[in-house]
């Protein structure tokens, strides 16, 4: 008889691996990706190749230099590269994407010890790096797809409300709207609302942005923004598939989006409390991408159930806070990076009570 293998129990294992998880998440991003190619054209592919190039060179290079096993085939670097693509505007130079991607993998991931040891979401660090190094490139170059989509709706509505002898700021505001992302436009409108002269115009633009037509356009992806800010519908589909496959825990997206929606309803309107339009905040910006694909990154999110809820709620608070009262129109990436820092602390303090802890026995 052949030699028998002796090992410790259990002798059977679930058919899942780190690599499989990475590739499944990548696959879940593909519907959104396909739509992005449809809306923004072939450039999407070049940007993706540039991102992948940067990521793979970073990973293989760093691992080679550090004399470690090269693990590019596990798919995690390519996933990060794909997420980098979603975080940059369409017009960005290819070499900048590659550089951001390189930075994400080399610094945020490999320098910390490789997969499993990083504290911060690498794709978001890559985006933060590009925001700090090339702010102009990162906040322009939105080529609104197929005509200018819904922002033109907003502009028209605003234009219609513009009085003939309105101050110049009002006209500037209206012009600014069509060249911005919806959140950028909202920020501009919000800031402008402080100026009593153009308040009415600002409020009209505000309302136009929050109109059901606008939201529908945003959901379908007919707005300007980074690649990943536009296709809320397809990201939602991909995200729900991941939840169904139990790759992503539903608590984080539910808590995150739920909190943002709640706060948007309470504080997002211009007529006092509870006059806001929650859906606007949910479908714009990187919230869909962030809630389903970035905040749920396993390595950088909490282990425990309670921890995930805490993480998600604080993410919602930070995101809405930055969008509404902070300096940036979009708050998802920084909220996630900030909360990533708190994950070890959250994990430590949310360790569940062992089964049979006396309180439970009495119940």
């Amino acid at each position: 008889m052949n030699k028998l293998v002796v090992s410790v129990s259990p002798h059977i294992r679930k058919d899942i691996s780190v690599s499989k998880i990475m590739w499944i998440v990548t696959a879940a991003l593909l519907p959104a990706y396909a739509y992005t190619i449809y809306t923004f054209g072939v450039r999407t592919v070049w940007v993706t190749l540039a991102a992948i190039f940067g990521a793979v060179v970073a990973e293989a290079g760093m691992q080679y230099l550090m004399k470690r096993k090269i693990t590019v085939s596990d798919g995690s670097a390519i996933l990060t590269a794909l997420l980098m693509v979603y975080n940059v505007p369409q017009g960005i130079a290819l070499w900048k994407v590659a550089l951001g991607s390189f930075f994400a993998i080399a610094v945020a991931k490999q320098l910390f010890g490789g997969l499993g040891y990083n504290i911060f979401n690498p794709a978001l660090i890559g985006r933060a790096f590009l925001m700090a190094s090339y702010p102009a490139s990162m906040t322009s170059g939105w080529a609104p797809p197929h005509g200018n989509g819904a922002l033109s709706l907003a502009k028209e509505a605003a234009q219609a409300c513009l009085q003939p002898n309105a101050p110049i700021e009002a006209q500037k505001l209206v012009d600014a709207v069509s060249s911005a992302t919806p959140l950028g436009a909202l920020k501009a409108a919000r800031v402008a609302a402080d100026n009593p002269e153009i308040r009415e115009t600002a409020h009209n633009i505000w309302d136009a942005l929050m109109s059901p037509d606008m939201i529908k356009e945003a959901f379908m992806g007919n707005i300007g923004g980074c690649f990943g800010e536009t296709t809320a519908l397809f990201l939602l589909i991909g995200g729900l598939v991941l939840i169904f496959l139990k790759i992503v825990d539903w608590r984080v997206p539910a808590g995150y989006i739920g909190t943002v929606a709640l706060l948007a309803w309470a504080f997002g309107g211009h007529d006092g409390l509870f006059s806001g339009m929650p859906l606007f905040h949910v479908v714009t910006g990187g919230l869909m991408l962030g809630a389903f694909f970035m905040a749920t990154d396993m390595v950088t999110s909490p282990l425990t159930r309670k921890g995930k809820w805490i993480f998600a709620v604080f993410l919602g608070v930070l995101t809405f806070g930055i969008r509404t009262w902070g300096g940036y129109p979009e708050g998802v990436s920084y909220s996630i990076l900030i909360m990533n820092m708190f994950v070890p602390l959250i994990d430590r303090y949310t360790i569940p009570k062992v089964f049979g802890t006396i309180k439970e026995a009495k119940a």
Partner: protein, 446 residues
């Protein structure tokens, strides 16, 4: 459906043998009977080489309170006492008996009417007949059925979950010897004083459930509880929670929740001991696995070898790479099947082909929290494992590693293929040492 939180769903594999009725094997030419087939001190041989023994005759005395005695499973002559392979210990002392003929039974009193017997007499019979937990843990039954005065047993729960994949011997035993098992349950209820009996069966055994429900139809004190098919539903604490909604206090025993749990086979053995005067010398064993040619359920004598049972099951396929004693989640991989004896705790012999035996590299934890989600004891296996890795045993103690029931669910789901259970075992070992030292210090202070 009744269940507990956590747990995993490994592929069941029961279809290989669940419709195979238990076949009584012909008596083996030789039996190797280990002196340690139970938790506690090994028994001491009470025979010497050359002695002639009858079937059922005692050949090993219990050594001390926390032990059990053993009996010869055939009629024959003792030809050797020495070190032989053991499915759990690797090697262990055993008495080898060469069979000289058909069974000549050693006479023990039979009590068809046991209602008149006192608890102490019944307990004595259970102890004398060498009965231990046959689910695999082999805890001496006479100790479990006799809790201290101040701990009252309210439920005697029969563990008919059989949650390990592939194993079907308990299922078949219920279907074929259900009456005997229920008699055994009643005897155990009398001994322990538990007023209520519950048979907890996983819902993947519809025939057993129907049969048991029919048999208990007129029993006021006994009921059948159908529990969800999930691993480890058959773990004591989880079964108690599913059936009674009581959580055994952390660090405590089932009796602290008013429950005593016994395996199906143990109940049947108690019945045979009291009513038929038969000691524990044979048991139902499932011989199965994808590499077994003709999976089956056998009634085998203790001491019969794995090699023999495998032969009777058509032998193993050529690409067999692993032989497991017990189930695939908590069973023990064997080095050899030659001269490897079936013990009181051998519930299954499984053969796996090379394609099912993988040697996978351990990667870094990616915090996927799968292990946290499945742990039936609500521990955080990955944090425990990394603390063990970095030798932070005080922290490991604080994180309740002692509560780990080593079910293997965490290792089963880990995508990074981290041997979490192994780290937990190391952790438990080290923490036990710490606790022993602490107890020593306490005693020195006194």
């Amino acid at each position: 459906m009744l269940t507990f939180k956590g747990g995993v769903h490994p592929p069941e594999g029961k279809e290989l043998s669940e419709e195979k009725a238990i076949v009584r094997l012909e008596l083996p030419a030789q039996v190797i009977i280990p002196l340690s087939q139970h938790i506690g001190a090994p028994s001491k041989a009470s025979v010497t080489v050359g002695d002639v023994v009858k079937t059922g005759q005692k050949i090993g005395e219990a050594s001390g309170n926390f032990s059990a005695c053993i009996h010869s499973s055939v009629t024959g002559k003792v030809i050797a006492i020495g070190k032989y392979p053991h499915p759990v210990l690797g090697t262990g002392d055993a008495v080898v008996i060469e069979r000289t003929g058909e069974d000549e039974w050693f006479e023990y009193p039979k009590h068809a009417e046991y209602a008149g017997l006192s608890k102490d007499v019944l307990l004595g019979i259970v102890a004398e007949m060498g009965i231990v937990g046959m689910g695999g843990a082999t805890f001496p039954t006479h100790i479990k059925l006799n809790p201290p005065e101040w701990k009252k047993a309210e439920y005697l729960i029969i563990n008919a979950a059989e949650c390990e994949p592939y194993l079907t011997c308990d299922d078949r035993l219920m279907r074929e010897h259900g009456e005997g098992m229920i008699e055994g349950l009643k005897i155990m209820m009398k001994i322990s004083g538990a007023p209520k009996g519950v048979i907890g069966i996983e819902h993947n055994k519809p025939h057993a459930i129907a049969h048991m429900k029919m048999l208990c139809a007129n029993e006021d004190a006994i009921s059948v509880a159908v529990v969800q098919t999930k691993y480890p539903q058959g773990a004591e604490k989880q079964l108690i929670y599913a059936v009674t909604k009581r959580a055994v206090p952390n660090g405590g025993l089932p009796i602290d929740a008013g429950c005593i749990v016994q395996n199906v086979g143990t109940a049947y053995a108690v019945f045979e001991a009291v009513v038929h005067g038969k000691p524990l010398i044979e048991r139902a064993v499932t011989v199965s696995g994808e590499a077994m040619n003709e999976p089956a359920n056998f009634l085998a004598r203790v001491g019969d070898t794995y090699e023999n049972l495998i032969k009777k099951a058509g032998g193993m396929k050529d690409d067999t790479a692993k032989v497991i004693s017990g189930g695939p989640m908590m069973g023990f991989a064997q080095i050899t099947v030659e001269n490897l004896p079936v013990t009181k705790g051998t519930s299954g012999i499984l053969a796996f082909p090379a394609s099912m035996v993988k040697c996978e590299e351990e990667l870094a934890c990616i915090s996927c929290s799968s292990c946290v989600d499945v742990c039936p004891m609500k521990l955080v296996p990955t944090t425990l494992a990394s603390n063990v890795k970095y030798k932070q045993f005080e922290q490991v103690k604080k994180l309740n590693v002692i509560s780990c029931i080593e079910c293997g669910s965490c290792s089963f789901v880990c995508p990074a293929k981290i041997p979490l259970i192994q780290y937990m075992r190391i952790g438990k070992n080290e923490v036990r040492k710490i606790l022993a030292k602490e107890r020593q210090k306490e005693e020195v202070k006194k």
